[in-house]
Symmetry: D2
Subunit: 309 residues, 4 copies
C-alpha cells in the first residue's frame, strides 16, 4: 500500500506547491476568483477507513465539473444505460469543454460525452424529480451517501454567482432544446446545474467519494453497494478518457489514474481497487486543471507506481 504517512504526503505537497505560482485562479465565476492561489491540500482515503492528508484540509471548495461524474452515476442508476446513452455519447473530443460547434455538425445534436458541458447539462436534465428542489435534494442525498457526511451542502453564493454568469451554458441549453435533446425550462435546468456545481466539501470528503468509485461502488465501512459495480467502472472510464478537459490524453499518459477536475481547483482521483484521492489547489493551468494538483498526482503516480497502464 502506497504512502502510509501524512509526513510523506507533506513533502510531496511542498514540492508540488512550487508550481502553483505558474497557474491562475479561475475568475469567470466571480466568487471563485476569491480563492488563494497558493493553497494546496490533499487527502487519501483507504477502504479500511484510514485517511492521510497534507495541507489545510479544512478548506472547503465547490465541486464544479467534478460533480459531472456524480450526477452521471446517479442518472445511470435511475434511468438505465440505454436511456442515458441515447441522449449523450461515450466518445472523447479534442474540442474545449464548453464548445458548441460540434453540436451543430452532428446529427442529432447529441453531446459527445457527459464530461463536456453540453453532455453534463443533458445528464443533469435527466435527474429525476418533480421540481428543481426535489431533484437537487435527490442529488445531494446521493452525494451525502458517498461522502458519508450528512452535512454536505452547497455554497449559495457560488451557485448564484455562477447562475448569473452562465450565458455560455444558457446558449448550450437553448441549442439542445431547439434540437429536442432537452425539453425542460432552461432557467430551471441551470438553477439545478449551478447548484450541483456549487456542492461544497473539503478534500477528505472528496477522497472518500473517490474511494467509493475505486472500490466499484461499495462503501467498505458498511458493505453497502452505493451504486452498481458497472456504473462505478463506467464513471472511472470516463474519468480516464475525458476527465481532465482536453488534457485528458496527456494526463492518462503521464499519470494514469482515473481523475476528474473542476475549475474550483479540485481533483478527485480513484485508484482502482486501492484508494480515493481528494485534492484542492485553485491555481489552474491553461486547460482549466489545478496546476499544482496535477503536479502532485504526477509525483504520487511516479513514486508509488499508480498508473493503470
Amino acid at each position: 500500500m502506497p504512502c502510509q504517512s501524512s509526513n510523506e504526503l507533506k513533502i510531496l505537497v511542498n514540492e508540488a506547491r512550487n508550481c502553483a505560482k505558474e497557474g491562475k485562479v479561475a475568475d469567470y465565476i466571480p466568487e471563485l476568483g476569491k480563492a488563494n492561489s497558493s493553497d494546496l491540500s490533499i487527502a487519501i482515503y483507504y477502504p479500511d477507513g484510514k485517511c492521510i492528508s497534507a495541507g489545510d484540509i479544512n478548506k472547503k471548495f465547490t465541486l464544479q465539473s467534478i460533480s459531472k461524474v456524480i450526477s452521471l452515476a446517479l442518472v445511470l442508476k435511475d434511468r438505465g444505460f440505454p436511456y442515458v446513452f441515447k441522449r449523450v455519447g461515450m466518445e472523447p473530443t479534442g474540442d474545449p469543454f464548453n464548445s458548441i460547434a460540434k453540436l451543430e455538425t452532428m446529427t442529432p445534436a447529441k453531446p459527445l460525452n457527459p464530461m463536456i458541458n453540453a453532455g453534463a447539462l443533458v445528464v443533469t436534465h435527466m435527474i429525476a424529480g418533480n421540481s428543481v428542489e426535489e431533484r437537487f435534494n435527490r442529488l445531494l442525498g446521493f452525494i451525502r451517501e458517498l461522502t458519508g457526511n450528512t452535512h454536505t451542502g452547497y455554497n449559495e453564493k457560488v451557485a448564484s454567482s455562477e447562475f448569473e454568469t452562465a450565458d455560455l451554458n444558457r446558449a448550450l441549453c437553448y441549442f439542445l432544446k431547439q434540437h429536442k435533446t432537452i425539453n425542460e425550462d432552461v432557467e430551471s435546468l441551470l438553477d439545478l446545474y449551478t447548484k450541483q456545481c456549487a456542492v461544497e466539501m473539503n478534500c477528505l470528503d472528496l477522497a472518500r467519494i473517490g474511494m467509493i468509485f475505486a472500490m466499484d461502488g461499495i462503501d467498505p465501512v458498511n458493505g453497502k453497494q452505493i451504486m452498481p459495480e458497472k456504473i462505478a467502472r463506467i464513471c472511472k472510464t470516463f474519468m480516464v478518457t475525458c476527465g481532465m478537459y482536453n488534457a485528458s490524453g496527456e494526463f492518462a499518459i503521464k499519470i494514469g489514474i482515473p481523475a476528474k477536475s473542476g475549475v474550483s481547483g479540485g481533483i478527485m482521483g480513484a485508484v482502482p481497487g486501492k484508494f480515493g484521492i481528494g485534492i484542492f489547489g485553485p491555481a489552474l493551468d491553461d486547460k482549466g486543471n489545478s496546476i499544482a494538483g496535477i503536479r502532485l498526482l504526477e509525483l504520487l503516480s511516479r513514486n508509488y507506481d499508480l498508473s493503470m497502464f
Copy 2:
C-alpha cells in the same frame, strides 16, 4: 421602362406558380405553417407612383428576414457606420443563416454580416430607445415612412409563435452575450426581434420599400430623403452579397437584382434607379427562399434585362 402592364405580369406569375408545388411552406414557426403553398403575388412600384401587380395582392405576410435590411438601415442612420461595423461584419459566409459554429472560431465573436441571424440580432440590439415598446415603435415608424402606409403593423400571433419557438436564436443571443457583443436582457431582445420579424404587409407595400432603396433612399412622391444615399447603397450591396441566404451567389449570377427574402415567402427587390419589387409566395426551396418567387424574378430579369452585372 420594363413591364408596363399587369397583364404581362400575370403571364409570368402563372408560369412561375408552376414550381410552387416543388416547395414547402415553413413550419418551424407554427403560425407560418398555415400559409397556402400555391399563393403567388407580385407588385412592381415605379418612382412615378405607377404600380402594376398580379396575383392576390391583398394577402398579407410577415417580413421575417426581409426586416433585417430595414433594421440595418435604421441602425446605420442612428448609430453611424463605425459603431455598427465594429459590432457586425461585412462579409458573406458559406454557412447557413442560423449557424453558430463560426462565432466560436472567430475572435472576437463578431457575426460575419447583418443578414445572418447572429448579425441581425446584433443589429436589432442596436435599435435605440428606452424600452422594447419604444424601440419597436421607432422601427415601425421608420417602416411606415418607407411604405407610406400609416396602418403598417405587426402580426401578434406570428410574433408570439416565433418568440416561443426561438430557442436557436436564444442560443445565439446568449453566446453573443457571453462574449459581450450584446449586453441587454435576451428575452427583451427576442421580444423586439420577433416583433420586427412579424411586421406585416402586402406586396404593394413591400414593393414601395424596395423602390425607396432603388432610388437611393429618396421618396420620389415628396422628394424626402428617408435615409442617406450611402445607407441605401450599403443595404443594396448586402442584398446582393448575402440577401438570399446561402443561395445568394447563385441568385446574383442568375438574376442579378439586389433582393432580400424571408421564410414567410416574401422577397423584396430593388432594381437600382428603376423600381421596387414585392413578392409573396410561401412555398420555399431547401435554402429557405420562395421557390416560385425566385422563378418569377428569374423570368423578369431575363425578359427585361434587369441584371446589374
Copy 3:
C-alpha cells in the same frame, strides 16, 4: 465619362501610395518577395481605345489569382454552364481562400466557388486539351485575345518558384482527387495552374482585359465577341461576391466595382458598360489584397461615383 486625364490619375496615385508602407509584399512564393513595396501604377482603358495611366506602367507582374476569372471564362465557353457548375459552386464563403476544412464538411466535396483556391484548381482542371502544354497554350491564346497583345507570356521563374512551394495546393488537389472531383495527375494540374498564375503583363494589358469584361465580352476595336455576354456577366458577378478574398463584402460596400485581386499586388477592375482598370501595387494588406490598390480604387469610386450599388 470619368477621369479623362492622366494628370488626375497621378494625383490619386500619389495619395494612395502613402498607405503602401502599411502593407507587406507577399513572400510565401519566394520570387514574389522581390517586388518593390512602394510601387503603384494604374491604367484605365476605355472602349474607344483611349487609355490613361499613372505610375510606372512598364512594370510587369504576374496575374496570380486574377487569372482565376479568366480561366473560368474560358472553361465556361468550352464546357458550358451545367458541366462547370456541377463541379464548382456559386456561393461566397467566409473562410480564407486557401481553406480546406469546408471541403470536408460538404458532401460532395465541391468547392464553394471558383475564386477560392480549391475551386480555381477544379476550373483549371477543366481546361480542355491533351497535354499541359496544349492546355496552357489554349489559355494563353485566350488571354492574348483579351489583351490584344500577342507577346503576353508567363514568367518561368515565378511559375517554378510557385510550383515548388505549392504544398497547400497539392493538399487541396489530392483531397479533391480522393473525392473524384478531379481525376488528373496532380503534378500536371499544378504545373498548368502555376503557369496560369504566372502569366505576366503590365497594368495596360490588364486594364484592357477588364474593359472586355466591362463591355460584356465584346472587343470594341474589332467588334468581336470574345466571350458570350452571359459569361462576362457571370465573371463580373463572381468578382463582386468573391473577387477580393474574404474582404469582398467590405470592398463591395466601400467601392462597388467588380474586381479581382492577386497576391502579386495586381487588381483588375471592370466598371460595367464603361471601362477597365489595371492596377499594380505589390504591398498587400492582411487579407492579401494590394493595400494601395484598394485605396486607389476607393478614391476613384468616390470621386467619379463608380459604385454599382
Copy 4:
C-alpha cells in the same frame, strides 16, 4: 488465469461470428476487398509461452492501423519523448481518423494524437534511416523482435494497392509539409507508410506483440526488454484513449482492454500484466472496427472480467 482452453475460445468465436454478416469488408483499398467477410480467428498468448486459439489461425492479414502503435514505440525509442511529442499530441479527438479540418484550426498544425492518420504519418516520418528501404527494414526488424518470427514480412500487393489510392493521406502529408510538421518527400513517406500498413502476419504473431505490450515491453521467453516499460505503457494508454477510431470511448466502457484495430479487420489487445490477444475478422462496422472482433472481445471481457476499470 482466464480462458485456458481453445475449446472455450471456439464457443465464443462461434457466437461472435454471427454478427459478422452485419459488417462489411473494407473496399477502399482494392486488395482488402478480397477478404472473406465471415472469417474470424483469435489467438491468446500468455507470458509463459502458452497459446490458445480458435478459427483459421493460418490466415494472414495486414496490420493497417495496428502498425501505428508499433511505429510509435519504435520512434519513442529512437527519438525520445520530447522530440516526438513536440510533433504529435496526446489528446483523443471526436473527429474521424482521416480528418484534415482540425489541422487547419490548430496552430501549429500538430496532429492531436498518433492514432489518427495525420499523427501516424508524422510518426512514420520520424523513423530513422537514410532511405525508405533502410527505415522500413528498421521497422520490420523491430516487428520481428516483437513477433519472435523472422519471417514476418509485408504484402507487396496490398502496399502498392494502398499506395495508389492513398490520395487522402497525400493531402494530409502535403498539408503537414506546408506547415513544416514534416519535411521529407511525400511520395517517399507514403511508400514507407503503406509498406508499414502492409506488414502481414496471422493472429498468433499479433497476439505475441500484444503480450509484449501487456508485459511492459519484456519478452518473457528470453527476458529481454524490447522496449522500455514507459514506452509500453504509453502505447497501451493511447490504445485505450484512441485505439479504436472514434469508437474508442465506447470500447473502453464496454470492454476496457487496451486495443488497436485496423481496417483489414485485425485487432491487437494487451491485457496489462496478463496476456496478448490477436484477432482477425475482416467484416467491419461503420467506424472501421472488426464487428465480430469487437463482439468477441466483449464476450471475453465479460466472461473473464478483463476490464481495467
